[in-house]
């Protein structure tokens, strides 16, 4: 069971005009595994994240969750089947509260169907947001505070919390510690490390090698849209592949 692929990227190609941001990329993440995804700026890492998230429709190839292909081009479907994403740009709504950011697009509603036409259960949303952030040990001011008023570290913590709070199978984090102070970075890494313990696979994109060595079981390297290497995340090899 431990070897079963949770998430599989199978021959994914994504072109922007003539430029292939991803060129037949294949790799898999297994249960309880943390895979680091390394590569220079412009290597195609974020594009891969968006293909997994269902935001980009790959020109070729598929993304499979537990062996079943995900429908491309719908980010709600991937999330509902247990994929959590922390986007590089955080994808927060500055004009909405912390609680609303956590639940955006998946608000608890009454009635639940038809989707979107129900009344938001704000009490339930606030209670669940409070419980979630408490469980993740993320400290924030009032849950009704607009996210636009938070500090950079707090914003990142909200984005990470949203990405991992509701994921059941796999979490993808796109440079979640970039631009964070040491203390905030430690907090995020602590959250990442807890995921495998709960049976969730992790894909971590990072530029910080210490961080990769500290949490990842394995690293794959993207260069100009192509997968050029796959190495165990031991300090020396990782450093070599990153050059």
């Amino acid at each position: 069971m431990a070897d079963r692929a949770v998430l599989e990227v199978a021959g994914v190609t994504k072109r922007f005009g003539n430029h292939a941001a991803l060129d037949a990329v294949s790799f898999a993440v297994h249960e309880r595994e943390v895979v680091a995804l390394l590569g220079d700026n412009g290597a195609g890492k974020s594009t891969l994240v968006k293909c997994i998230a269902g935001i980009h429709r790959p020109d070729h190839g598929t993304v499979l969750l537990d062996g079943a292909p995900l429908p491309p081009g719908t980010s709600a479907a991937g999330r509902d089947s247990g994929i959590g994403i922390v986007f590089q740009d955080l994808a927060l709504f500055d004009n909405m509260s912390i609680a609303e950011n956590l639940f955006a697009g998946r608000e608890p509603c009454r009635p639940r169907f038809p989707r979107g036409l129900g009344i938001v259960r704000r009490r339930v949303m606030l209670d669940e947001a409070r419980r979630t952030l408490h469980r993740l040990e993320v400290q924030v001011p009032n849950l009704r505070t607009p996210v636009g008023l938070l500090s950079g570290g707090q914003r990142q913590a909200i984005a990470v919390s949203r990405g991992i709070a509701f994921a059941r199978r796999v979490v993808v984090l796109d440079e979640p510690t970039a631009a964070l102070g040491i203390r905030e970075r430690t907090n995020v890494l602590r959250l990442v490390r807890q995921l495998p313990e709960n049976g969730i696979a992790v894909i971590l994109i990072s530029h910080n090698l210490e961080e990769v060595v500290a949490v990842a079981d394995r690293a794959v390297v993207l260069r100009q849209g192509r997968l050029v290497g796959e190495v165990p995340a031991r300090p020396r090899t990782t450093r070599r592949w990153c050059r």
Binding site: T74, A77, F87, G105, C109, I119, S151
Partner: protein, 327 residues
Amino acid sequence: MLALGLRLIAAGPVIVLLCIWLVFSLLSPYFLTASNLTNVLVQSSSVALLALGALVVVMVGSLDVSLGSTVGLCTIVSAVVFRDHPSLAWLVVPLLLAVGLAMGAVNAFCIVGLRIGNAFIVTLGMLYVIQSLSYVVSGGTQVPNVPPQLVALANGSLLGVPGPVLLVLGAGALLWFLLNRVAWGRWIVAIGGNRDAAGKAGIPVRAVLFSVYLIASLFAAVTGMLVAGLNNSGTVDNGTSILQAIAAVVIGGASLTGGRGSTWATVVGAVILGSITNGLTLLSVSTNWTPFAIGAALVAAVGLDALRGTVEGRLRVRQAQIQAGGA
């Protein structure tokens, strides 16, 4: 201190309205009488209703300048139906709603469906198209007499509250509920805040955007019913009513880049415009000066908005400092 400042700015439109009322009441003893204030509210009602429609589009960071033409077309259709088929006058409400929906659907189809980029340009085109349709349907600029239900709506009252005021309150409550309590409405606000993030959060962005133009045009249709009743005639819109409505939205503190705006503040914005017009008339200032005052109010509102941005930024910095220091 900063939080208080922020709250004051949020209450800005109400404060501005009270200041304007204070000034006019000092200058004219007649201004602050119940009958004149009722006048102000009734005179503001059509701009307020149309502004609510405009607000929905502004919330997603877009503009629909064709809404005024839809108002005009609806007044014309109601008058023409009454003239040519008086037995069908009872159908006028659903008919006008259908006209509104149709115009909104064309806008939405061009902007969201065909992805013609600039909503302002598309709706500017529709402003002329719908205006032209109005001329075609009416054969002139004005058609007298509309169905009596509309006249009753505009001139009647319930428990002393005039029909137009009730209509604005009802429509405002409906819109407030949609934008603040219904998931779809929260999605409208979310898209205005960060459209890209909305897509990433699995919000059906294009469907929501499509609906926004439909909702706005429905508001325009209801405004058409009101205007038809108030004038007891159908009149082709000359294109300025929507500008007043957008001014009301901005004076109400909404951000034209989307994501921020308030239903009731928009109504207050319309009442501010109505108060300025009414007060200047009372003081027998030449009506040539009315647009001047409205323009000044608009610029002041934008200034207030810039101030809000500064205060918000400072609050954020302070919060970050507290966070860093309090560990």
